[in-house]
Structure formats: C-alpha cells, structure tokens
Symmetry: D2
Subunit: 203 residues, 4 copies
C-alpha cells in the first residue's frame, strides 16, 4: 500500500510517551521488537527534520503534585513500591528509545501530556501544528490524542508503537476510537510515507 | 445489590452532556426509555441538593471558534446540514432532560466539556470536587472523564445514560476504560445509592 | 510623526474590552470624545480587514461563576446594586462602540479576557498572532496585556482608548509598564499607521 | 500597628519569585538587607507550617520554549549574554533565600508563575487557597498576582520583598494596583501577624 503522508516536517513533532524502562517491561509483550520498531520511527523522524519530544511521568520528592482525590496517582503516592517505577533507572526512558541530539524532554504528573506541562507552550513556540503520537499504555494515549485534537493539532497515531495489557482495549481504541480524530498508521506505513517527504533543509 | 455512594451533595455536580434533541435522535436506539432514565437521574440529583450542569455544543454565527485543522469540527463548519444539528430546536437540550430551576448551562465548541469553557471555573467557584457524568456519545464522554480525572475530580459515570452508535465501543469504554478512573454505575444503582444520602439542608 | 505599523490584518484582532454603558459612564471623564475615538478605531480596523472582538463582563443568574474567595468579584455577587452594572442596557456594550457585522463577542467572569473564556481558542482557530488592545479600566487591561504576552501574541496597546479613575495609575501603566511588552500608540497614530496597510482582499 | 493575619498555614503557600543570584544583583539596590528580610520571611513561614514554593526562570538547551514573537523572551533566546543570567550559579536561587527542607521548586519560561507550569496543579493538590507573594521585579510580580486573583486565590503581597529598577513603577504597583486584589503588607507586618497564628500541628 502506498501511504501519502501529508506532513510538513518543519511544523511536525513526534510525541513518544511513557517509554520508561519499567513501563516498557510491564506493558510490552515483546519488548525487543517493540523497542526496535519505535527506535526506527524516532531515527527516521529526526533525519527527516521532525522535532522529537519525549514525555514521561516523574515527580518531585514526596510527590507534592498529587492530589489525594486522584485515584490513579494517589495509589502511586501511597506506595513506595509504585514510586520506584518512576525513579532512577526504572523511571528513565529506555536506552533503546532515549532522547538524542536536540530532542526535547517533558515531565508530566498526570495522564495527559498536556496537563500541567509546558508541552503546548513548546509546540506553539515552534509553530508545530501536526503531532505523530504513540506510547504506553494505549488507554493512556487516548487522552493525549483527544486533548490534542481539541487543541486543533493534526494527528497521526502509530498503532504498533502503542501497547496495552488488555488486547481488546488496544484494538477497540486503535481501530475504532483513534480514527475519529487521527490518521492511524503502522510504523512501517509511517516510515514508507516519510520517504516521499524531503527534509526542509534539503534543496 | 446495595450501593454505597460516598458523595457529598454540597460538593458534587451532575454533568449531563450533549443531550440536544438532534444528538439524542441520532445516537439513542430507544430514546423514550433513555430519556426517562436520564430525567429521573436529574430529578433525584436536584432533590438531593446536587448541582446540575448541562453541557451542549453551540457556535456563534459563522463558527469563528473552529480551526480548519480540526477534522471533526471543521466538518461541521463546512456543512450547512451539519450545522443545523446545533441550531434552533434541534440544537437545544431535549425537553425531557432540559435545564430546570438553578441548573447551570455551559456551551462548548470542542469535544471536552472543559476545553475553552468556564466549566472548571464554575466547579472550583462552588467547591465541587465530585462529578457524576454521562452523555452522548460514549466515545465523546471518555475525553471529559479523563480530562476531569487529570483535574483531580472524583468521578462517577452512569453507564446507561451514555449511548454510542457502536455497541462494541460503548462496552469497551464503559466496562474497561472508565473503571480505571471512575466508579461506573447504572442509573438504578445511582438512584438507589442516593437514597441513603441526606441533602445538606436537611437536619 | 510617521508610524510604521507592522501588522498583517489577516492575522490581527482588535480586543475592545469592557465598554459597557455603565463602565464607560463611571470611568471616562469625557465619554463623548472617548467613544468617538474608539468607534473610529473599530471602524477603520473593520475596513482594513482586522477581526474585531468585544469582551465584556457578564454572569448567569445568581452568578455561579463567582468564588467567595475572589474579593473583587464576590463584592459583585453580594450586591444587587453592583450586579445591575452588568445587567440589561447598563451591561450591554455602549451603542457607539457596539458589535457590528462579523464582530465577535466574548463574555468573561474575571479580570482577564483569557480566564475561563474561549478567546484563546478563537484567536488560534483564526491564526491570529497580533492583538490591538484597549479598554476600561487601564488597571484591568494590564492583566490581559501580560496574559497575552505570555501567550506569545504580538501586542499593540492604544493608550487613549484606555481610561482609569486614577490618572497616576493610568500614566504609570501606559508610559512605563505596557511598553515592556507592547507597542503603545495613540488612536491617531494607529489610524495613521493603518493607512499604509492594504487589506488582504485588495489587489 | 497590630496586624490581624487571617490565614490558615495548612492552606497557605509562600511564592518566592525570581530570586536568582543574577536577578537579585541587577534589581536590588541594597541586596544584603533585601535578602536578609526575605530569608526571615521564608524561615518564619516554614516554622509556621506554611508551604514554601520557589519560582525561577529556566530553559532547556537552545530554549525551545521561546516563541520568536515574544519580545521579552526572544531577546533572551537571541543573546548568549542574556542567557548566562539564567544558567549555572547566576541562574540558581541566591543561597541566602534558597530552597530548604520540603520547599518546592518550580521552573517557568514566561513572566507569570502560572503560565506553562505545574504551579496551579501543585496548589490544588495541596488544598492551598491563600498565597503570600513577593519577587523581582515588582512589575513582573503584578502578572502573577492578578493571574492568581483570577484563579480565586486569597492574596497577600509582601511589598518590601519586591524590588524594581524604577521606583515610581514599584510605588504605583505596590500602593495602588496590588491593593485592589491583595492585602499588601511589609515583611515586618507579616512576621508580626504570623506570631498570632499557631502551626496546624501544634496542640
């Protein structure tokens, strides 16, 4: 299949979300090929002149960002064991898909990459209007996808760079929910589409 | 089943979303019982002292709120026929579940009830920390649910006051995605739970 | 003096703030010339193809938008007399500078035109990156100016379309605080500058 | 004069803004007494059980947060010399008023402490409704004060822990603009007022 990818690298960013070492090991059934695929998307995006942004969860000591009313995140605040998933090497982005060169890193404290972060500020500052998104878990990515749709970004979701413990939820989101707001592609379709796009800096 | 509903009416609000006459007629397979059920939730919420907030989509003339990059909403901007769904009687909230008494109405121009509205301002101004949500379509409600979770509201979703054209999407969201952030109840469970809660003004 | 106005009408909007009949009568020492001057700015902006947006304060019945902790606005909520300034003809924009044609109206419930409104959504949807601002009182305009600066809009303030009860505060803001973020012009300088700009639709 | 300070330490936070070593040395005419006064406010706030939050400007390498349209901040992005004010020891908070113990640090990239930061998230997560603010320059503090007023925080400004290169601007803001939204106190009035407040943890 020929994929026509109508994106302008100078106004596009890849959002690689929640690829910390701990999260990858928990959510991905086949980490090696999952990481290799994602690494190759990041590499080609960079060489095409697309901005690459990494988003991960992180906290200050004693997690002052967390509200006791927030079920999901107060479970982390109340458990030293849960917190260890976000600290030290476990909490860092897996070396296979880690930030390189001019990549930008954003730390979030909630599910959406936009909530309480400077992500929207950075995107606007760089005149970015198109996002290529993927991450773990798929059921977490849905919020950022829709948050971004409401903020008027053009959206591409790379489905096989998303992973979820529940295969049915993954399929439902990727096949039925995401397509209402986003172009949903496989990594190979995206890479194929990138080939026909010249980086802005080339003649 | 006995439902223990741990909510304080003085700090709770019902969010009834997108019950316009046109949307109800498109999305609900059995509008009569769907509306009767929802009306009864609204009525009991009011008499329990819970704030009731109605959210619907609406636009200024010529839809200056819509960005051409927003696929979902520019489809409305570009089609007079689509716009008619949000105008006049079709766009008003269905009389069976319409605002009454001190109910509050919020007009939105995007999928989330929070995006570009004064909803969060109103909730904070009234010290509301718990939301009881439902609406059409279920796949639209998911964004507001997660937006609200990220904003640290306690959440109850009333599943049979949600409706979606795709039964599989409805089931996946209601059974698997919503429960990660919210207590998911049927209308009858919610009404049963309300009985054990005295309104704040009673002795 | 020759004014070089480096604005592109297709990406610019005038923000005319808080010109309700009651507010004009309270704050302006010489309403007739003040309104005539402002009307002429609005008229020339429209005929140059600049979007015109009017912002005024307004509330739902019983003011559910107001938090008792907000000193400024709870004073309004607690006083029927204060509320009358925002209701009926008194609360409407003065007829001399009222919305015309495709002008856009925004209702706010706080000091800044951005807080809890769809103003930023509308500006982004229309690819507007430059704001020409003025309003009453000058000490209220300062917040929207700085809010807009933080949101990366290019800014022009028209100083003699601002008014404040305290002449010293007006002078301090207009002469010393606004120039740090905005180009500060008189109405006649702005109108002079507009002459050299052709509307986008002209050949 | 006896000051009645109606604050509850468990729901209050001190915001100490822009006390980096470089900014202090540029803006304060008498750094030694200025820093001693501020340090004593921080110390007493901590021992009264008030949360202390430090806010400073900082950037990622190459300043991707900055929009070329933002006059104030693109001047920094375009000047290596300006950037040095925010890097290394110069950009760190002055040792005399630096974070201690459980103090929280927030990094901003715009004028307001709220723009593009997790400050509001942290304040809400900790049920904080009252802010005691001060910082450099006074003309920068005004935005955070009004931003916070619009977000319904109760406000106290400590005037002699603010400094501005222009004495007239400082006086105008502190004497005439801040009092419209905030209680304006001297450091000694604040410290005097604190004495009558028992920390929440005491019997």
């Amino acid at each position: 299949m020929s994929v026509q990818l109508a994106i302008d690298p100078a106004h596009s960013a890849v959002l690689s979300m929640d690829f910390s070492t701990a999260i990858v090991s928990i959510y991905s059934p086949d980490p090696q090929s999952f990481l290799a695929r994602t690494a190759s998307v990041l590499k080609q995006a960079r060489s095409s002149g697309i901005t690459v942004i990494h988003v991960r969860v992180g906290f200050r000591p004693k997690l002052p960002e967390i509200n006791p009313r927030n079920t999901l995140f107060s479970a982390i605040k109340n458990s030293v064991k849960h917190q260890q998933l976000f600290e030290g090497a476990a909490g860092e982005i897996h070396p296979a898909v880690a930030p390189e060169g001019d990549d930008i890193s954003v730390t979030k404290h909630r599910a959406s990459a936009f909530t309480g972060t400077d992500l929207d500020m950075i995107l606007r500052a760089n005149d970015i209007d198109t996002l290529i998104l993927f991450g773990i878990a798929t059921s977490g990515v849905v919020l950022t996808v829709r948050h971004a749709a409401d903020a008027d970004y053009r959206l591409v979701v790379i489905k096989d760079c998303c992973a979820d413990l529940d295969a049915e939820v993954h399929a439902c989101l990727v096949d039925k929910v995401f397509p209402r707001q986003a172009t949903v592609l496989s990594a190979s379709e995206f890479l194929e589409g990138l080939k026909s796009i010249k980086p802005a800096s080339e003649p």
